[in-house]
């Protein structure tokens, strides 16, 4: 093996310029692949970050307003949700396992002299699974909280720091009581706060919120857990029927589609993963096509090399080189060029990814009304690096095989007769 490499080294050294030019084509191909996949991953990470990870059989229902006058009801009458809508939804179909509401209101959080205003969200424990924010300490609202109407609260890390008087060690707030308005709530959990541009949201049990706002606050949303809706068509048919029923229930035109808005987590998630799959595939194809031009370049150069070296192969054959040894010499040479320059390309590509992550990936895009990350964690994983390496070796072999075959099968007398 060492002999083989020293053979290859001496021929590569012979043709420095040619070797370098060939190699650059491969390096470039790999740089493109790594940067494409890296930014693609960044884009997908950002997308995924703005939604939940797991597939949820949930449909969220938001109230709208009528879009046409019907039966004495004016156009533009707002639809209001209350507990009767929860019951109605649960009874609407046997496919609905459970429905629960979310109740939002604004209030002031205070601890000693520190105070800040926050949106209070009275929620069901299930909401944890569809929230964007991740828990960083403690726990979320649980079933017992809901049952006991506990005065427990989950706040975000910034709010925690602020309430502690700008203490970065926000964990200290766990177990402390903070006031919501003038009612003390025990802090049981802390959420990460990613987007500084939104206000604070604090979570309390739905039952507690309902009790606090007994005067009849409207529900911001109803969330339904369902089963048995597998296909897109089944989901859409179900949604249509449900909207009709809700319109009727609220005394609006059954055909009015603006009385409620639905968001189907199950379908969204399916669409999202489909989109991601397609995007990933498209990126690989693009990258591969770029690499392909590199492969063609290497193959082309190897063909010329073989032609130039035909006489040498003739000498080698006369001295006892088997066709296999010639084949091996050329293929390994091709692999060495591709792998070496490919590796360089991979390193440069990864450095470029790091650079992009530091620039594009760490500054949110200002969309006016909100800030949003277009890219997040740009870069490729270890798996892609391994795949790319394997791809390079395969590419090198493919690039070398035709020229190698030509070199191996030439007859020694013809080769010896060839011009030097």
């Amino acid at each position: 093996m060492k002999d083989l490499f020293s053979e290859i080294w001496s021929t590569l050294r012979q043709n420095k310029l040619r070797t370098t030019l060939t190699g650059l084509a491969v390096s470039w191909g790999i740089i493109i692949i790594i940067v494409l996949i890296g930014t693609g991953n960044g884009l997908m990470n950002a997308l995924l970050n703005n939604s939940s990870d797991s597939v949820q059989n949930l449909i969220a229902v938001f109230p709208g307003s009528t879009s046409k006058a019907y039966n004495g009801m004016n156009e533009g009458t707002p639809i209001r949700f209350d507990d009767r809508d929860i019951t109605f939804s649960e009874q609407y179909s046997e496919k609905i396992d459970r429905a629960f509401g979310s109740l939002y209101f604004s209030d002031t959080l205070s601890l000693g002299w520190e105070a800040l205003s926050s949106q209070m969200a009275g929620v069901d424990p299930k909401m944890k699974e569809i929230m964007w924010e991740k828990l960083v300490a403690g726990r979320f609202i649980n079933k017992n909280d809901l049952k006991n109407k506990s005065k427990h609260i989950v706040i975000d890390e910034d709010a925690a720091s602020q309430l502690l008087g700008d203490d970065k060690d926000y964990n200290k707030i766990l177990g402390k009581h903070v006031n919501v308005g003038n009612i003390p709530f025990k802090v049981v959990g802390i959420l990460e706060r990613e987007d500084q541009s939104w206000g604070h949201t604090s979570y309390i049990p739905y039952s507690t919120a309902r009790a606090l706002r007994a005067d009849g606050a409207w529900l911001s949303r109803i969330t339904m857990e369902f089963h048995g809706l597998e296909t897109k068509e089944a989901n859409e048919a179900f949604e249509k029927g449900y909207k009709r029923a809700m319109s009727t229930f609220h005394g609006a035109d059954p055909e009015d589609t603006r009385t409620t808005y639905l968001s189907n987590y199950y379908l969204n998630n399916q669409e999202m993963s489909k989109a991601i799959r397609i995007m990933r595939l498209a990126l690989w194809i693009l990258g591969f096509l770029t690499l392909l031009s590199g492969i063609v370049g290497v193959s082309n150069i190897m063909l010329i090399t073989v032609k130039e070296r035909i006489h040498e192969f003739g000498i080698r054959k006369a001295l006892g080189a088997t066709p296999w040894s010639i084949l091996k010499l050329i293929v390994v040479e091709s692999i060495v060029i591709t792998a070496f320059f490919g590796y360089i390309g991979m390193v440069i590509g990864m450095v470029a990814d790091i650079f992009l992550d530091k620039t594009l990936g760490s500054h949110p895009m200002d969309m006016g009304f909100m800030q949003m990350y277009i890219f997040k964690n740009i870069g490729v994983g270890f798996d892609v690096a391994v795949e790319a390496t394997l791809l390079l070796i395969v590419a090198g072999t493919v690039a070398g095989i035709i020229p190698a075959w030509k070199g191996a099968k030439v007859r020694p007398i013809e080769a010896l007769r060839a011009d030097k």
């Binding site: 002999d3 001295l319 006892g320 088997t322």
Partner: protein, 240 residues
């Protein structure tokens, strides 16, 4: 009998089929120093290629040391060439990007001999041919005579049964030609090597002990040339 050819025929099938060897019968004993002489187009190069297992023949029989050379796979032919035959070419055929010693090592590389061992052997052979100081030089840094001696070292290193020399002095001046022919003669006499020289120069042929004339694809006269006086330049040993 080291080399036995029985009714060997070879035709090149081109636009016009060309019957190059028309039933060659030839026997060469171990330790012989012979030349095959003929004009260009006589079939001597084709015969040399067949003898060197670089080309195949259409009919007849060719045996080296009793082994029939017929229908060999490329790999088998490569193995036989490597073990049984040493080539010396008119144009040296050294690999330009390899040093003298690397060139000499090459046949051993294909025998799978270790790097260290083959380097040692190659240095030994270069030393014998007086080229020890030139071991690290590339072919383009050497004179024609030196290059041919490197090629001879390369041919000798596997201790082959047969040395095939194709116009070994063709690219050399007359003084160097004499040196090379003297060297081959010495190798034959001292080491009992079987050497076959293919040439069209009678002066070169005169160095050998037997001259086989080939004409129009058939073996003509076979001269015993023990006294090296068969040609008119023979008496004073001059070439060209």
């Amino acid at each position: 009998m080291l080399i036995e050819l029985k009714d060997v025929n070879k035709t090149y099938y081109g636009a016009q089929p060309l019957h190059v060897l028309k039933g060659i019968n030839l026997n060469i004993e171990r330790g012989e120093f012979v030349s095959i002489m003929g004009a260009s187009g006589s079939g001597k190069s084709t015969l040399l290629n067949i003898l060197g297992i670089l080309d195949n023949y259409d009919s007849g029989e060719y045996r080296i040391d009793g082994k029939l050379i017929w229908n060999l796979t490329e790999s088998k032919a490569a193995e036989y060439r490597n073990k049984m035959i040493g080539f010396i070419f008119q144009s040296y055929n050294l690999i330009g990007f390899k040093t003298a010693v690397e060139n000499v090592e090459l046949p051993l590389f294909y025998q799978g001999i270790s790097r260290h061992k083959r380097h040692e052997m190659a240095m030994d052979y270069l030393d014998r041919l007086g080229l020890k100081e030139w071991a690290g030089h590339y072919p383009n840094e050497m004179s024609g005579g030196q290059k041919q001696r490197v090629a001879i070292a390369r041919a000798l290193i596997t201790k082959p049964d047969i040395i095939l020399a194709d116009e070994p002095t063709g690219a050399l001046d007359s003084k160097t030609s004499v040196e090379i022919m003297e060297l081959l003669k010495e190798l034959n006499e001292r080491d009992r090597l079987t050497i076959i020289v293919v040439t069209h120069e009678s002066g070169v042929a005169n160095y050998t002990n037997k001259i086989i004339h080939i004409k129009d694809g058939v073996i003509g006269e076979v001269e015993e040339n023990r006294l090296h006086d068969s040609v008119r330049f023979g008496s004073d040993g001059a070439l060209k």
